[in-house]
C-alpha cells in the first residue's frame, strides 16, 4: 500500500516536471511543423524555451493603476494550469493527485484560469486589452459548456469522469467505437482550437482580429513569460486530454512493470507529435473564421457535444 502510494507520488512528481518540459516543446514543435509546411525553415524546436528564458530575465513593466490582481494573475494562472496539466494522465495513469480533481473539476480549473485572465485584462482598464477580454468571454461562455457536454457523453460511455478510470476503461476494451464518441472527439477538438486561440478560430499575427493575444498586451517580462507558458500548458492539456480519453494506448497502468512508464513516455511523445502535426496542418489549411461567426462556431461545438450526449444516452438505453 505504502509502496504503491510512493510510486504514485513519484509518478505525479515526474508528471509535474514532464508537463513543464512538454508544453513548450509541443508549442515549438507545432510552429516548426507549421513553418515547414509553409516552406519555411522556422524557429528552432527549443525556441519557446529561449523565449521564456529571455522574458524571465527582463524587467517587468507594470501599468499604473493596476491592482495586485494584475501581477498575481500570471502566477495564479500558470500554477492553476500547471496543476491541471499535471492531473491529466500522460504516460502513466496511477497519479497520486488523481482524486483531487476529475474531468469536471479540470474544466473548473480551466475556467478559473480564463476568468483570472479576463479580470486582469479588465484591470488594465481600457482599449484593446479589454476588448480582448470581451472576446475571450464569448469563447469562455461557449467553450466551458460545450466541453462539459462532450465530457457528459464520454463519461456516460465510460461510466466515469475520472481520467485514469476512463483511460483504463478504454484500455480494457470496455468501450466499443461509437458514433457519439467520434462526435465528442470532434467537439473536444473544436474547443481545443478555440480555447487555445488557434486557427480557425484565431491565429497569430492577425492584429485586431485576435482574441488570445489581446488580453496579454500589457504584460511584460516575467509576467508575460508566465502567461505565455500558461498558454503552452493549456495547449498541452487539451492535447493530452484528448490523447488520454481517445487513444490511451501505451499508457502505463498501476499494475505494470517498471519499464511501462518508459514505454508510456515514448507513446506520449508519439501522440503529442501526432497532435502537433494535426494542429499544424489545421492551421495551415484552414481559414480564420470571423468573430461574428465565433458564436456559430461555439454553438456548433456545443451542438456537437449535445448531440454526442444525446446519441449516447439513446443508444445506452437501447
Amino acid at each position: 500500500m505504502i509502496v504503491q502510494a510512493i510510486g504514485a507520488a513519484f509518478l505525479q512528481l515526474l508528471q509535474m516536471g514532464l508537463v513543464l518540459v512538454a508544453a513548450p516543446l509541443l508549442t515549438g514543435f507545432v510552429s516548426q511543423v507549421r513553418a515547414r509546411l509553409m516552406g519555411r525553415q522556422g524557429p528552432p524546436l527549443l525556441q519557446p524555451f529561449r523565449d521564456l528564458l529571455r522574458l524571465l530575465r527582463k524587467e517587468a513593466v507594470v501599468q499604473d493603476e493596476t491592482s495586485w490582481l494584475f501581477t498575481a494573475t500570471p502566477f495564479l494562472v500558470f500554477s492553476t494550469l500547471w496543476l491541471a496539466a499535471g492531473l491529466v494522465p500522460t504516460f502513466a495513469s496511477g497519479l497520486a493527485l488523481a482524486p483531487a480533481a476529475d474531468l469536471v473539476a479540470l474544466v473548473g480549473l480551466l475556467a478559473v484560469a480564463r476568468v483570472l485572465t479576463m479580470l486582469a485584462a479588465l484591470d488594465t482598464g481600457a482599449g484593446f486589452g479589454a476588448l480582448g477580454a470581451v472576446r475571450q468571454s464569448l469563447v469562455a461562455v461557449l467553450a466551458g459548456p460545450a466541453m462539459l457536454m462532450a465530457i457528459f457523453a464520454v463519461a456516460a460511455a465510460m461510466r466515469s469522469t475520472s481520467l485514469p478510470r476512463m483511460a483504463e476503461f478504454v484500455l480494457s476494451g470496455g468501450v466499443e467505437p461509437r458514433l457519439s464518441l467520434a462526435i465528442a472527439l470532434l467537439a473536444l477538438t473544436m474547443l481545443a482550437l478555440a480555447d487555445n486561440a488557434r486557427m480557425p478560430v484565431d491565429g497569430p499575427g492577425a492584429g485586431s482580429a485576435t482574441i488570445g493575444g489581446a488580453t496579454s498586451l500589457e504584460y511584460s517580462g516575467r509576467h508575460l513569460a508566465l502567461i505565455e507558458a500558461a498558454g503552452m500548458l493549456r495547449l498541452l492539456i487539451h492535447a493530452s486530454l484528448i490523447a488520454c480519453i481517445f487513444v490511451p494506448w501505451g499508457m502505463a497502468l498501476p499494475g505494470d512493470g517498471a519499464l511501462a512508464p518508459v514505454i508510456g513516455l515514448g507513446a506520449f511523445a508519439a501522440k503529442m507529435a501526432g497532435a502537433g502535426v494535426a494542429l499544424a496542418l489545421t492551421e495551415v489549411l484552414s481559414t480564420r473564421i470571423g468573430i461574428r461567426r465565433l458564436g456559430e462556431y461555439g454553438g456548433w461545438a456545443l451542438m456537437a457535444g449535445m448531440l454526442a450526449a444525446i446519441f449516447l444516452s439513446v443508444s445506452l438505453g437501447a
Binding site: 524557429p43 528564458l53 527582463k58 511584460s220
Partner: protein, 229 residues
C-alpha cells in the same frame, strides 16, 4: 493546395543562407555596451517596429524579412505588437515632430534591457528630409540608438545582418543595458544623447543601394544601473 503544402515538407526551404552578423557591428556593440550591467537574453529577441515617419520603403523591406527567403524566425527573432513584449525597437524614418512623442512613449513602455536599432538613411540623421520644419532628424534625437543600419532603404539582407549581429550579441554574457526606473522627458534624453557620427554622404542614385552598411553607435546613457536596483 494540400499537395503543395505537403510537398513543402519534402522540399528544401528556399531560404538564403543565414547572413552572418554584419562585420564590425558586433565588436562595436560589445565595446560600447560591455561596461554596462550583465544580462544575457539568449538567442531570442522580440522586435517592435516603429515607423517614425518613413516613406514606407523601409517597412516594405522589413516586411520582406518574414518571407520564406529571409525567414527571420529561424534566428529566434520575431515581430511583436506590444512594446511591452519587445527587446528591440526597430525604428525607421526621420523622426517627424508629429511622431516624436509617440516614439518616446513607446521606448519608455519597453522593458529593459532593450536596444534601439535605427534602420535606413533617414533614421540615422534625417536623410533627405533633414532640415525640414516637420522633422526632428535622426532617431538619436529622441531615444538612444545602439545600432545603425544604413541604406535607402536597406535591403532585407542588410537588415537581417544587423539583427543577427544584435542577437549574437545578446546571446553572449554581459551584453545588455542596465535596468532601472527612469523618469526623463524627451528633452532630457535628447540632451543626454551625444551626437553620433553621421554616415558620410547623402543618398545618391548609385550609392543608395548596395552601400548599406551596419554601423554601431554609442548609446550614451546616464550612470550605469545594475539589475534590480
Amino acid at each position: 493546395m494540400l499537395v503543395r503544402i505537403l510537398g513543402n515538407l519534402l522540399r528544401r526551404p528556399p531560404v538564403i543562407p543565414g547572413p552572418g552578423p554584419a562585420p564590425g557591428a558586433e565588436a562595436e556593440l560589445a565595446a560600447r555596451l560591455d561596461r554596462l550591467s550583465h544580462v544575457r537574453l539568449g538567442r531570442s529577441l522580440a522586435i517592435r517596429q516603429i515607423d517614425a515617419g518613413s516613406c514606407n520603403g523601409c517597412e516594405l523591406e522589413i516586411s520582406a524579412l518574414g518571407n520564406r527567403k529571409y525567414d527571420l524566425e529561424r534566428f529566434g527573432l520575431r515581430f511583436v505588437t506590444s512594446p511591452r513584449h519587445a527587446d528591440v525597437l526597430l525604428v525607421t524614418g526621420p523622426v517627424t515632430h508629429n511622431m516624436r512623442e509617440a516614439l518616446y512613449r513607446t521606448w519608455q513602455a519597453t522593458p529593459d534591457p532593450k536596444w534601439v536599432v535605427a534602420c535606413g538613411a533617414c533614421a540615422l540623421d534625417g536623410g533627405v528630409f533633414r532640415g525640414s520644419y516637420g522633422v526632428a532628424g535622426g532617431i538619436d534625437q529622441v531615444v538612444p540608438v545602439h545600432l545603425r543600419i544604413s541604406g535607402c532603404p536597406p535591403s532585407p539582407a542588410e537588415i537581417l545582418a544587423g539583427l543577427v549581429a544584435l542577437i549574437e550579441h545578446s546571446a553572449r554574457p554581459g551584453s545588455a543595458v542596465g535596468v532601472g526606473p527612469r523618469e526623463e522627458s524627451v528633452a532630457d534624453v535628447a540632451q543626454e544623447t551625444v551626437e553620433p557620427p553621421r554616415v558620410a554622404g547623402g543618398v545618391g542614385i548609385h550609392e543608395a543601394h548596395g552601400a548599406g552598411q551596419v554601423l554601431a553607435a554609442p548609446a550614451e546613457r546616464g550612470p550605469d544601473r545594475d539589475l534590480g536596483s
